[in-house]
């Protein structure tokens, strides 16, 4: 995203005493909506990439969904543990043992939360964030792709 552009637009608004600015640029696939409160502060800035604009982009699979859920989750003090590789998700070290973690468990950066099997290799996956497991987003034995959210973690 072009931060310089947004900075420049804000500058133009300040100088021209413009209270609200809306730009729709299909060419750039960009929609910018900036609003300035009566006090002179920006009450509700929002910038969004338009849904593909003219782009016939494919239906977002893993990564796309990841990105979109990520933002609101983070806003509410949530984080996602995403898969660092493509493979098969296992919740427990072996079929007859308990899962690494469950909803309600507290985890730390180094906690192993699952195994991803790729090419017959069992890869232990660490949380890389700390907090409380709120939701497990994948079923045991389910294939996952790179970047796919696995766990929802409440970080504060």
């Amino acid at each position: 995203m072009d931060l310089k552009l947004i900075r420049n637009l804000v500058r133009i608004m300040e100088r021209g005493e413009v209270d609200e600015l809306e730009i729709e640029d299909d060419k750039a696939g960009l929609r910018v909506h900036l609003r300035r409160g009566p006090s002179g502060s920006y009450a509700q800035p929002s910038v969004m990439m338009m849904p593909g604009a003219t782009a016939p982009g494919p239906a977002p699979s893993g990564s796309g969904e990841g990105t979109s859920t990520e933002a609101p989750a983070r806003a509410a003090g949530m984080e996602e543990v995403t898969s660092p590789m493509i493979g098969t998700f296992y919740a427990s070290p072996s079929p007859d043992t308990d899962p690494f973690t469950a909803v309600g468990d507290r985890i730390g950066d180094e906690s192993v939360v699952c195994i991803i099997e790729a090419m017959k290799v069992m890869n232990e996956i660490k949380a890389e964030c700390s907090g409380e497991i709120v939701e497990i987003l994948v079923e045991n034995g389910e294939p996952v792709e790179y970047g796919q959210p696995l766990f929802l973690v409440k970080t504060r």
Binding site: G57, A59, S61, G62, I86, Y146
Partner: protein, 464 residues
């Protein structure tokens, strides 16, 4: 025939493979990096799997990820396209050991032909003319000097494991030979982990002419005529055509027969290309084999009417070649322009970013292979080719006219492209009369209005 395959590539070639699969009712699994999530071909695939972040090493070159995706998606075969893992013998071997068909020749064949010195030996054994040079590797400076004396300067120092210009040096006398040898060895060591080099006579005014071959697992090999790719810049092809405008029927026949001989002797199956250098006197010399489909396969498809990707899939699945040599007839003339998002005025600097408008040309005799569209963002992580424009007309002259018309029509707003340069090249008498050699484009570029010149050592990766 396969029921379901994985496409281990991106961009136009991924799309090209999916097109072939759809026409053969083969299901496709497209793997992609996060940088390619908006790629057009993902819309055409039956399943898509994100295999890693933008960096190729972590996605398109990551063998465990790709094999893992293939296993999860339950495919029978993997098409590697060109570049990335297409000529990686280890990957082909991993596929085999995982019981996934690799759509290309055997691992062993890739390995043999990938070693330039070994490929040269194989060519000599198959009575395919090679550029005069050392018999195998040259290990010390004294031998190098002696061999160079025998074959005559200028000579070329080449890394055995090299490819696409890396580990290559030209020397015109003994001091530059000794210096170049050290440089080539160091470069080859760094790039390929192997500092073996050999010597070849340097053919100055050459034409790059290559023969398309196609073989099945039953030992049948045919050729599909030649391509002339003499419009190059630093070993990067920019314009390709078929047939070559400079070959006599006799030369064509000899070269095609030589290519088939080499392919047969190396147990080659699937699609491949045997590259030759043709000198000013009409002699031809073997350069190397490209053990994969090539970017410019399209011109061969147009003049022969054979869908090379479909045939790759057929023979890889075990089918016997549907064509015999006598079925292959070259009709008319085809030209391809590779459209790159590069600024020729700024030393071909890549131009990633948003394509605000993309309106490809159309109408008679025009084919477009491109993964781009209005609103597509070119990721900065991969090569700069954004499409191929190919035309097919009864004669070369008409094909040039159609190509000019089509280039004029092509609207790409956002990045700078090679289109204006290609348009100019087509106007040149040297090109129109087919008198150009592989140095033509570089001469043309330096003769044109002042452009910042590239680095002196300029050898870029070749992915042709």
């Amino acid at each position: 025939m396969f029921r379901r395959i994985l496409v281990a590539n991106r961009g136009e070639i991924a799309q090209r493979i999916i097109r072939a699969c759809r026409e053969l009712s083969i299901e496709t699994v497209a793997v992609y990096s996060q940088a390619d999530a908006d790629s057009l071909h993902l819309r055409m695939a039956d399943e898509t799997i994100c295999i890693g972040p933008a960096a190729s090493g972590a996605s398109y070159l990551n063998i465990p990820s790709i094999i893992s995706a293939a296993e999860i998606a339950d495919v029978e075969a993997i098409h590697p396209g060109y570049g990335f893992l297409a000529e990686n013998a280890h990957f082909a071997e991993v596929c085999r050991s995982c019981k996934i068909e690799f759509i290309g020749p055997d691992s062993k064949t890739i390995e043999d032909l990938g070693n330039k010195a070994r490929a040269r030996e194989m060519a000599m054994a198959a009575k395919v003319p090679v550029v005069p040079g050392s018999d195998g590797p040259v290990r010390d400076e004294a031998t190098a000097a002696k061999v160079a004396q025998e074959i005559g300067y200028p000579v070329m120092i080449k890394a055995s494991s090299g490819g696409g210009g890396r580990g290559m040096r030209v020397a015109s006398n003994e001091p530059s030979l000794l210096h170049g040898m050290r440089a080539a060895q160091a470069e080859a060591k760094a790039a390929f982990g192997d500092d073996t080099v050999y010597l070849e006579k340097f053919v100055e005014k050459g034409r790059h002419v290559e023969i398309q071959i196609l073989g099945d697992r039953q030992g049948n090999v045919i050729h599909l005529g030649e391509r002339d790719c003499s419009v190059q810049r630093r070993h990067q092809k920019l314009i390709e055509e078929s047939p070559s405008p400079i070959l006599s029927p006799k030369q064509r026949k000899e070269m095609c027969a030589a290519a088939v001989r080499l392919a047969k002797s190396s147990g080659y199956h699937n699609a491949g290309t045997v590259e030759f250098l043709v000198d000013g006197d009409g002699n031809f010399y073997f350069i190397e084999v490209n053990a994969r489909i090539q970017v410019e396969h399209t011109v061969t498809e147009l003049v022969t009417g054979v869908d090379l990707i479909q045939e790759q899939l057929r023979v890889a699945s075990g089918e016997t070649l549907r064509y015999r040599q006598k079925d292959i007839q070259v009709r008319g003339h085809a030209i391809e322009c590779r459209i790159n998002a590069e600024d020729p005025a700024m030393d071909f600097q890549p131009q990633p970013g948003l394509i605000t408008s993309f309106v490809p040309p159309g109408g008679p005799a025009v084919r477009i292979d491109s993964h781009c569209y209005s609103g597509y963002r070119i990721p900065p992580n991969y090569d700069s080719m954004i499409g191929k424009l190919i035309v097919h007309r009864p004669t070369r002259e008409e094909a040039i006219r159609t190509m000019m018309r089509a280039l004029d029509e092509f609207v790409i707003e956002g990045p700078k492209t090679t289109i204006p340069l290609q348009r100019e090249v087509l106007e040149q008498g040297e090109f129109q009369k087919a008198e150009h050699d592989t140095k033509f484009l570089e001469r043309f570029l330096s003769a044109a209005a002042p452009r910042p010149s590239g680095p002196a050592s300029g050898v870029a990766e070749n992915r042709t």
